[in-house]
């Protein structure tokens, strides 16, 4: 399979915007969906629709089977030890809020420390801040340096305080701004040496890198379906069973109960349903399963190889533009290799990102401008906005050329 036959499977990619062929480079925000996913959604919304885990009738049973099958598809995809460790949520943000609540209620006491990095987007900051407010814990920041990398010695200084070890490290796999792949295995090894569990925000990571949660040894790994070619409103919280078993549930309601008594005495369902209150987004989850099957079935098409080629060429072409600074440059820092996915956040002297994005839009190019939901990270670089082009497996080198050429045209207008 090659890139053009892959593109054919994404109906959204063949549309025209203002009469120009769409060049979709805002994949960091959300991705387009393959026909296989759309077919599942249409089939289920249009007929194969019955609430799961409840009824004996045909439609309910069929939907339940699909929902459960999606869970084992995801289990295989991330190599979780058990399907019970895969909790379905509405997205990365919901996964992190669930985690912050349940982990916080179960393990955090006043005065405890939680560590986040300076490379996080808001969804991996604010839930922890709210948790700190609820529990009286303190938030600490392991910050990035100019290159976007993080000094493991500084992490050790934060972790190694006898009697005051942090209760959790929350870190992104790949920052949505920098596009740098954090050396997670190394970082997790350090954290575990100090007995600190690690929660990984995989919203960008899972889209571009093969994830094996056991090999990585992450204690939690979360991601969204809609950035992974799946439906919006779907997401996953992976957690090691030993934690999930102990953690108190977040939301209460249908599906998460074992027995309900009045006025008290209600008991909760076993994993994974304990964390899935209410009617699950079973149609969306079936679509997410289809998305993952699609990714796993790209015969002979090496996603990483294709994306690496885009990254190398794009870095070169963009760095040749006068006054262009790219945030997150791949390289070896602190003895660790920081690879880069094709996500390019930049500032260009004499041209504001919002202006560039506005003009590119008129040329059919979808890019992102602004703070990218990562205000502290932008502030770290003294920026109030950046321009971001983020590529996915279906973007071509021709699209990259058209983007760079259009960018040069736009800069001529603005500067």
């Amino acid at each position: 399979m090659n890139c053009s036959s892959i593109r054919e499977q994404f109906p959204a990619l063949s549309q025209k915007i203002y009469g120009k062929p769409l060049v979709y480079l805002d994949n960091g925000a959300t991705t387009q969906k393959p026909r296989k996913v759309l077919d599942v959604l249409q089939e289920m919304q249009g007929g194969l629709n019955g609430n799961i885990h409840r009824a004996v009738h045909y439609l309910s049973v069929q939907c339940t089977e699909r929902y459960d099958k999606a869970r084992s598809t995801i289990r295989d995809f991330i190599n979780a030890a058990s399907a019970d460790e895969v909790i379905f949520t509405s997205g990365t943000t919901a996964s992190l809020n669930l985690l912050a609540y349940s982990f916080g209620q179960t393990y955090i006491r006043p005065g405890d420390r939680i560590v986040v990095t300076g490379a996080e987007h808001h969804s991996n900051i604010v839930p922890w801040q709210m948790m700190c407010k609820r529990t009286g814990a303190r938030l600490e920041v392991w910050n990035i340096d100019d290159s976007g990398a993080m000094d493991p010695k500084k992490l050790e200084q934060i972790l190694d305080i006898p009697g005051d070890k942090p209760k959790l490290l929350a870190i992104t796999h790949i920052s949505n701004v920098l596009g740098l792949v954090n050396p997670l295995s190394h970082i997790i090894r350090i954290a575990h040496y100090y007995n600190v569990p690690v929660a990984v925000d995989g919203a960008q990571g899972i889209v571009h890198k093969k994830v094996d949660v056991q090999e990585m040894d992450a204690d939690f790994y979360v991601f969204s379906g809609h950035k992974l070619y799946g439906p919006t409103g779907t997401g996953v919280l992976y957690g090691k069973e030993k934690y999930l078993e102990e953690m108190v549930p977040w939301q209460g309601g249908g599906d998460m109960i074992e027995k309900v008594c009045l006025p008290t005495g209600t008991t909760y369902a076993r994993l994974p349903l304990k964390f899935e209150a209410g009617t699950a987004n079973f149609i969306g989850v079936a679509g997410l399963g289809a998305a993952v099957e699609f990714i796993s079935s790209l015969n002979g098409f090496d996603i990483e190889l294709h994306e690496n080629e885009i990254t190398t060429k794009a870095m070169k072409a963009l760095q040749e533009i006068e006054g262009c600074r790219i945030y997150g440059v791949p390289g070896t820092y602190y003895g660790q290799v920081y690879e880069k996915i094709p996500v390019f956040s930049m500032s260009i002297e004499g041209a504001h990102p919002a202006d560039i994005a506005t003009l590119l839009d008129k040329m059919g190019i979808a890019v992102r401008s602004g703070m990218l939901c990562a205000e502290p990270l932008l502030e770290r670089y003294h920026l109030t906005a950046v321009l971001r082009a983020s590529f996915a497996l279906y973007n071509t080198l021709e699209e990259l050329d058209y983007f760079v050429e259009s960018l040069r045209k736009v800069l001529k207008m603005l500067r």
Binding site: D355, G370, M413
Partner: protein
């Protein structure tokens, strides 16, 4: 010139530009021509923060009329600001409050004023109206004395 006259003039000027490129080139030109707001007025108080771009708005009063000066770090936003400042400046609070900003839609820039744009323009117009409202209330009070 009334606010309506100014809007009609802008609409006419833009009506000759059919291509989006020409329209944006004009906005960029207007943005470049608009004198930057002096540092002393680029205060936190005058700042309207948007996710996309930042806008500063300073207001002064003379003979019962309001005068606006504004700036942005984004050029297209600044071009639209230049139009808005031109339309609103030199008018009484009553005139400003009664104005119907139809020209924005007529010249095809409505999308720039959508709340989801977060470029500060919509907040700037709201701010201008608030200034006018405050000035109007003050006027009424003075007359009532």
């Amino acid at each position: 010139m009334t606010i309506e006259d100014k809007q009609a003039q802008i609409t006419e000027e833009f009506s000759f530009l059919e291509d989006w490129m020409d329209k944006y080139e004009l906005l960029i030109e207007l943005g470049k021509k608009l004198p930057p707001l002096e540092e002393s007025s680029r205060t936190e108080k005058n700042l309207i923060r948007g996710c996309q771009s930042r806008v500063w708005l300073a207001v002064s009063r003379e003979d019962g009329k309001l005068h606006f000066r504004a700036d942005s770090d984004a050029l297209i936003t600044k071009g639209i600001i230049s139009l808005l400042v031109h339309v609103f400046s030199g008018h009484t609070p009553g005139e400003i409050l009664g104005a119907d900003l139809s020209f924005i839609q007529k010249i095809g820039l409505k999308e720039h004023l959508s709340p989801t744009r977060a470029n500060g323009l919509l907040s700037m117009i709201e701010q201008i109206r608030l200034y006018a409202l405050a000035a109007n209330t003050e006027n009424t009070k003075e007359h009532g004395k």
